[in-house]
């Protein structure tokens, strides 16, 4: 998983000087500290960050990062689940799991895989709910 990397340098420096910070994982979604602060203050995050988070990425920073970076990264970690909800439907549609994403967007905090699988069961005239492909996918994950 490629992390969201909070960097104390401005994003434009990173864009123009590749390899500036060798500790940064290749392919990471990079956020400057200013961008991270804006997201934390507004409660709105970019699609790229929401997408990275929905793919399981964690918010990371360098081991020797100053307290300011640590603080803003910590707040971003807490904020991400809720702030990315508006993007979830879009992300889910793009990757072929729209119903899971829509069901997730209703929850204030990420529900468990098992709870989500229950919600996605399709009603049937005979009264026994049927497993949709997305519900089956989630049920399969409960068996990990």
């Amino acid at each position: 998983m490629i992390p969201v990397w909070v960097q104390r340098l401005p994003a434009i420096w990173i864009a123009f000087v590749p390899g500036l910070d060798p500790r940064m994982p290749p392919g990471a979604t990079v956020l400057s500290i200013a961008d991270a602060k804006t997201m934390v203050q507004n409660g709105q995050i970019s699609f790229d960050v929401a997408n990275a988070w929905a793919h399981g990425a964690a918010v990371e920073f360098a081991d020797d990062a100053p307290p300011e970076v640590r603080a803003v990264a910590g707040r971003l970690r807490l904020l991400l689940p809720e702030a990315s909800r508006p993007h979830l439907a879009e992300i889910g549609t793009r990757f072929g799991v729209p119903r899971i994403a829509t069901a997730m967007a209703v929850h204030a905090t990420p529900p468990s895989v098992a709870a989500l699988a229950q919600e996605l069961a399709e009603p049937h005239p005979d009264g026994v709910p049927r497993l949709s492909p997305e519900a089956r996918l989630l049920r399969a994950l409960t068996g990990l």
Binding site: A101, M104, P129, L131, L137, L141
Partner: protein, 424 residues
């Protein structure tokens, strides 16, 4: 397609089936889906043309972080395997929720799933009575009378005594030739730390005595997680250690043709290469469900720990084929449980005691159990003679459970019991 999401030994239970399916003219290709951790084991399966991996730890981490993340990753993995097509038949060889739900996703028609699977209402289904048997009787040594691989083969409509041997990699074979040199091929020993608690001797003593008296050098192979033990034994005895990848180890086992181990995983791998082996076991009943394969001599101390001399004598007789030891074998059988694993008349794996010249009543009872269940799986009524034998000699634990069976075996047992009671 064969779905095997378990350990390496579970994967090798599929060997007979992949070999048989791969040899069929109407089968275009046999593809295996396993974990990334079992890729090497899956790659050894005979008849398999493609091996796909599911990322176990990656999926687990994603599932903990975010349900959507895990769902997207799993869906991507499934689409990568399917590549826009679907499989004509899916054999699910895992009794887990993940595989049970995934199996129908690889085919258009759920009726094409062989093995256990979860249907669209969320209920477990079995494609063959053999899998219902497996679900009911499980792997409990006190109840199950079949080796797991026999049940899977029967359910997949493959002969239970099909060899399904691992095909040696030609490159690995050349490596083995160089590694073993021009001298006699070594006897392979795969020790485990856990066995030191119940063996009556140290592995060092066994390795040095075997190398001294056997006429063949001893080479050590480290089972998973036993590298330190093997290094210690090697330091003290001077025996060589084969530190090779799995496919090379399989080729090495095949070339050497003799394995002495207390590790079940090594025993299964050796069984799949078709070589003779001695398997040292702790005390207790032989777990029939876990029988690794034929050509195995199992030894355990029935009442006391195994003695070094007894193990050396049996190893010399069984592995090194040294003659003139039969009389000693019979006398050395005191307090020992020594069984040879092979196929019975019905083509199923069973264990029979080697020091017993007369017919063993326990072995014949197990054979009768296997016969009535196998008959039931193919729709034949249970043989009356076998039922009578079971009621007379059968273990009360197995009889009690089997009487509750709703199928023909339970019915026949209940009827025969009533008949006996009426006659009494």
């Amino acid at each position: 397609m064969v779905l095997s999401l378990g350990t390496e030994t579970d994967v090798w239970n599929a060997a007979r089936i992949t070999a048989a399916w791969g040899a069929r003219r109407d089968v275009e290709s046999v593809e295996v889906v396993g974990w990334d951790l079992t890729h090497d084991a899956c790659a050894l399966l005979p008849g398999a043309s493609v091996v796909h991996d599911l990322p176990l730890s990656g999926l687990r981490i994603r599932a903990q972080r975010h349900p959507l993340a895990a769902a997207i990753a799993l869906k991507g993995a499934i689409e990568g395997i399917l590549a826009g097509q679907s499989f004509d038949a899916v054999l699910n060889m895992t009794y887990g929720g993940l595989a049970g739900h995934l199996a129908p996703m690889f085919t258009r028609d759920p009726h094409c799933v062989v093995g256990p699977f979860v249907d669209e209402t969320g209920q477990w289904r079995a494609s063959h009575p053999a899998f219902e048997y497996l679900a009911t009787w499980g792997i409990d040594p006190a109840l199950n009378v079949f080796a797991l691989q026999d049940v899977w083969s029967a359910g997949a409509l493959v002969r239970t005594d099909e060899a399904g041997l691992i095909a040696p990699d030609p490159v690995a074979d050349t490596l083995v030739e160089h590694g073993c040199g021009a001298g006699p091929t070594p006897v392979l020993v795969a020790p485990t730390r856990a066995s030191e608690a119940w063996l009556g001797f140290g592995w060092e003593a066994l390795v040095s005595s075997l190398a001294h008296s056997g006429g063949r050098p001893v080479m050590l192979v480290a089972p998973k997680g036993e590298e330190e033990l093997v290094e210690r034994i090697s330091d003290r005895t001077g025996a060589d250690v084969a530190r090779w990848p799995l496919r090379h180890t399989a080729a090495l086992i095949k070339r050497c043709g003799a394995v002495l181990t207390s590790d079940f995983g090594t025993a299964v791998l050796a069984a799949r290469t078709g070589v003779r082996q001695v398997l040292l076991r702790p005390q207790g009943p032989i777990p029939l469900a876990a029988l690794p394969g034929p050509h195995i001599l199992t030894m355990s101390g029935a009442k006391r720990p195994l003695h070094l001399d007894a193990v050396l004598t049996h190893a010399a007789w069984y592995l090194l084929q040294q003659n003139g030891l039969e009389s000693h074998l019979h006398s050395a059988g005191d307090g020992l449980a020594v069984h040879e694993i092979g196929y019975d008349n019905g083509g199923c794996l069973g264990a029979s005691p080697v020091s017993n010249a007369e017919a063993d009543p326990a072995a014949s009872t197990l054979k009768a159990w296997r016969q009535v269940w196998r008959d039931a799986w193919v729709g034949l009524p249970p043989a009356r003679r076998a039922i009578d034998h079971l009621l007379k000699y059968g273990d009360s634990n197995r009889l009690g459970r089997a009487r509750l069976d709703r199928g023909p075996v339970g019915q026949a047992l209940r009827k025969a019991s009533q008949r006996r009671e009426a006659a009494a």
